[in-house]
Point group: C2
Chain length 310, copies 2
């Protein structure tokens, strides 16, 4: 692995939650700067044992409060609805001047929750690395997960400039590109590019498996026609995604409403045989695909990213 | 490439339409049995020139009627709504006893159209290889496209047993698994596993690019959150897909209606904060993913099939 040799601006990093993202963070930090001390915690004893076996951290603690002691960066990597309780667990143990950040897929809820529970002596800088896979758990992580991916920071107004700069450098040291925006705007953008695609993928997989007249075995056998691409997304972590939809309700419902209207339009076009409406949309969407490849956010490999010889 | 050495049961095969599927067929046939004669035709002069340069066929003709002369298998590989006119062009030139087949994604419409226009002296055996990529044109094809994929035959009642057996052998020689079913049933199954996923992917990409408050550049930048998987499917050939929706209207509208109801259910669950409904669905869909991988219809690679080092 080659990462740009950027200085790691934190010396003792607490990672709370050692699943796909938390364990990837641990691996990426170690790869970027082996001298950086990593303190890991997970609420699940089995995950703690596995994380120790994988040598993910210098120390694995049995409470979150122990993990954050003396840490100059605390990364919350658990499903976002655990943050209120977690904040209460760690608040007394946090080092003044520490940066408290996270990797959650929603940001307004996170910012609000952390601000409500944490002391003003720490710097709250929520973050969302737009990266992941459909796998979960400490074994699923890998050091290059964030490379060439975007990490969005949503610092509140009047955030300490040095703390923000250090958090930016941290993500850059892991290979990510960093952007800052308002938490509410983040939630709308991600509703479009991530939350709704996941919701629809989950739905369509559910619809297919419930349809009378088509057996489950048929759905599986003929999935190469397009369906399998949805199942990949729909295999993502259930707890994390439940929390996303419950905590980004407004933006998700807004985009879903727009999508429903657009589905109705196509439904009507199909019913009335309006081929031009279909053709116009199907042509337009090709350009967006091209732009995503040009922006380095997907590969141009054919066969839907799968090797030709299965 | 290693294909099982199966005997090619046809000696002179006409391929009408030399795009992704037609050119893949030409390559796969040549790889399976170099002695088999391939006659190619495409309505587009540029495609004919390119196909000749790629050496896709023994002969490239300038009319469809010329291509089918003396062929014991005729494969129609053009968008399905061209079949009525195509059938009229070739009907007089067809060799008695020849098998007329196709690769279209809808089958009841194809069967009906071909039966209405072709003489009773030929054997009509519609086929649908469930394989493809998001690319189009003669350069996009490759010999292993059908390997380990399913090919569905939808022979009409009272089909000649020998003709059916030869068509089955033909696809097996290209590495495909062959299944036969009623055309109408095929259309319902594929509406679920292919047509609706494509329609939704096209829609969601369109919705995202039209949404006020989110720029196109943001949609592209943060597409790794799930959206990019939809753009892959939504880059598929517009003409082919327009024809699919116009010719499989009933099944598509039926499944779309079911999907809309399921979306409404989730919409309601999100609005009222019913986390258990979401969690239950998100857990169930994981099992289907696992079954698809076990059935060899997708890779288990993580990171959504993309290499970790972009």
């Amino acid at each position: 692995m080659t990462l740009t040799p950027a200085k790691m601006p934190f010396s003792r990093i607490a990672i709370i939650g050692l699943g796909l993202i938390g364990s990837s963070l641990a691996r990426a930090i170690k790869a970027a700067d082996p001298s950086c001390e990593i303190i890991g915690f997970d609420g699940d004893a089995e995950v703690r044992t596995r994380a120790a076996a994988l040598n993910l951290a210098n120390v694995i603690t049995t409470t979150a409060a122990d993990a954050v002691q003396g840490a100059d960066l605390v990364m919350l990597c658990t499903p976002v609805r655990s943050f209120a309780e977690l904040a209460q667990d760690i608040m007394a143990a946090l080092m003044p001047g520490a940066v408290i950040s996270d990797v959650g897929s929603v940001k307004a809820y996170v910012l609000e929750t952390l601000q409500a529970h944490l002391p003003p002596t720490v710097h709250i800088i929520p973050a969302h690395p737009v990266a992941g896979t459909e796998k979960s758990g400490p074994d699923a992580g890998f050091a290059t997960l964030f490379k060439n991916r975007w990490c969005i920071l949503t610092p509140p107004e009047n955030t300490d400039a040095t703390a923000l700069e250090k958090t930016t450098q941290f993500w850059q040291a892991l290979g990510a590109n960093v952007e800052s925006m308002e938490a509410k705007h983040h939630d709308l953008v991600l509703a479009v590019t991530s939350h709704i695609p996941h919701l629809i993928a989950y739905t369509i997989v559910g619809t297919a498996s419930d349809l009378e007249g088509v057996t489950k075995s048929e759905v599986i056998k003929y999935s190469a026609g397009g369906f399998r691409d949805f199942t990949r997304i729909a295999a993502s972590d259930p707890t994390m995604w439940r929390d996303v939809f419950l905590t980004n309700k407004d933006a998700v419902l807004e985009v879903l409403q727009r999508l429903s209207e657009d589905i109705s339009l196509l439904q009507r076009a199909i019913r009335w045989g309006e081929g031009d409406t279909l053709f116009e949309l199907f042509t337009r969407t090709r350009d967006i695909r091209r732009s995503i490849i040009d922006a380095g956010q997907d590969t141009a490999n054919e066969d839907f990213g799968r090797p030709h010889e299965a």
